[in-house]
Amino acid sequence: MKNGFSVFLAAFIALGLSWCGFVLAPVKQLGTAKQAAVLNSSDTYPLQRPGDATLGLQVYRANGCAACHTEQVRQTGIACNVMLTDFGAKTSNVIQAVNYILETSALATRTGDTWSLEHSGGELKVPATISHGITKEDADNAADKITAAGGKAEIHIVATGADIARGWGVRRSVAEDYLYDYPVQPGGLRAGPDLSNIGVRDPDLNWQLVHLYAPPAVVKNSAMPPFRFLFEVRKINAGAAPSPDALQFPKDFALPAGCEVVPTAEAKQLAAYLLSLRADVPLYEAPFTSVMK
């Protein structure tokens, strides 16, 4: 390269290409995203967070919670469970088909809740899980056999991966989960657990507040720094009733005598935001079968 202009041009082209690819294209593709339809339902997702939770997002940002917590569930793939839901007219045919499925193939990974061969003749309960954690193709085969025998089968799709197995979510995080957030803070380090579904996992407001005030009080050996500056420790005046907002601590937690801990508005907003973190509906991009428990 002989002169400054050619260097400028080279840099311009290289950076311009990646700018078009990683800035312009995603902004065009995702910048106008709208709510998505929830699978097998007439609902749309996500809903705007409630007012308190929207303010709480700013408390989350201001205190850099994303420095230690991700809001991003990973998934390695999907697996299928085959459920027998109805024996139909001829029970024996279906049992035969099920036994065939279980015997012949690697279709069935036998876990605790798998159909047990020995008791298949005794009490028959539906729905029952026939096969667990198999591929879609195998699940289709199994379901076909049951249907051919006159029974009814359902295929349930479940997400797989360590994050899912830990109970951090039911599916991977997708673009829709962050649609209304500003700033989007998916985080990059798990010094603390993932929070994508903390509102599902720990829906108790008091638990969240106590955890913010004194993490070791509710999580043993917690490495989280306490956020005491979001709370007010007040003396309870003699005869006066304690504040209705005061935190309810577990029995073994020692609080200075005659004192109560009251969350500030910021603490309440932060807790409201945490409770609003629920990425638990199936979407086209990340399907799973929701099972009522």
Binding site: L15, R61, N63, E176, P186, V219
Partner: protein, 490 residues
Amino acid sequence: MNPTETKTLRASEIDASCRVPLLALFGGAALWLVVGLLLALAAIMTFHKPDMFADCAWLTYGRVQPAANDALLYGFCIPAALGVMLWIFARLSLSELALPLVPIVAANLWHLGVLIGVVAILTGDSTGFAWLEFPRGSSVLLFAAFLLIAISAVATFGARRNRELYPSHWFLLAALLWFPWIYSTANLFLLAHHPVRGVAQLAVDSWFANNLVFVWLALVGVGTAFYFLPKIAGRPLQSHYLALFAFWTLILFGTWMGINHSAPLPAWMPALSSTAAALTFVPLLAIVIIACRTVWGSVAGHWRNSPFCFIGSGMDLFLISSLMLIAAACPQISRVTEFTWFGPAQAQLQILGFFAMTMFGAIHELLPRVMGFALPFPKFVRIQFWLCLIGILLWAGSLAVGGVGQGMKLENANTAFAESTAATLMFLRAGTTGLLFILLGSLLFAANIFAMTLKWKIALLKSLIAAVQAPLETTSASALPPRDLGEVKS
């Protein structure tokens, strides 16, 4: 070819023309280096004693940690890089620094911007975007300051005597274009009145962070090394063509990295990013070959030359940090390393390892020339080298090893989450020692820079007093620009 005598005269004049702007840039950089490391130390204390700052909102981990990162990147790396760039441009142009007042003003603007930004993060006004935490007010100052310095640099470049370009020119000129582009893009798309919606923010921020922390630092660091290594080793760069190849491939492939394998973005983006990361191995290899072939055979003769050691180990650390980055972009490996301390380890190695070491070497080499006198504490340089090298290896090494262990525990759903945290605590605590070493080293660095500034100011004051006290007919001497007064002294 000029006769040797006139050439050295020119060189000292060129150096003198950079004096004040460089002092302004390096002085602030040294201060931010110390401040940034102190903040990093405050952040890591949370892992020694979680409730240490429980009542102090300013020092809570989530605020101190980004403040430390930004103080190091924006406060130390970029101003130090700009100072070194201005000097290299002036030297390569064989002409004095153009518009020397502009970078002086810009340096002060820049450091003011960083101050506002760091205080804003600590008071809870961070923007929440990784590596872009400074709020709008501070970004405007930084952007304006960078443009001003770039104008001075380009004017110096335009005034060059020798029209042919040296490889360092390519890297440094590209860096001048890079920063305004990526910084304005990130600010306009993320912090303007109508920021982009949803995960598009994540895409823009990842693009920006990668282009700043990996590509920009690589451009400046490698450009600087390509200038100093041949000078010190006394051999020409091996070779221009390979350097051209490295430059092109670096800016073509490096710019597409930075999107995590599991990011909640359309699948084509992580896929493209992983591919680009694999391809970035090519420029990395080319840069390593160039550096090795240039210094080959001269290492034994120069291993006591501290600037050479600094820049050489900076290149080694560049290799390690880039390999870590490339490895972490590979889906199979990222499954373990993602969301662990491995990522911070790589960033620390890039900033405090590769880049800081290269800048230390360059500054130690050029500052005595610019000032016209030797470093006040020459012995500190050697001690600083070992402190920083051992420190960064300990710090980033323990984070990386701890991160892999943490990742393996996270990957196994049967291990309780608390175990993965507990497993890293030991490494974080060991790494703190490394951080302390780096802090000590940076104090020595700051001592040299500040003592030098002080010495120069005293000399300036003395010559001013002398000029004032001189007989009437020579008072015109006081109208001379300060650099000439400094030269009288030296």
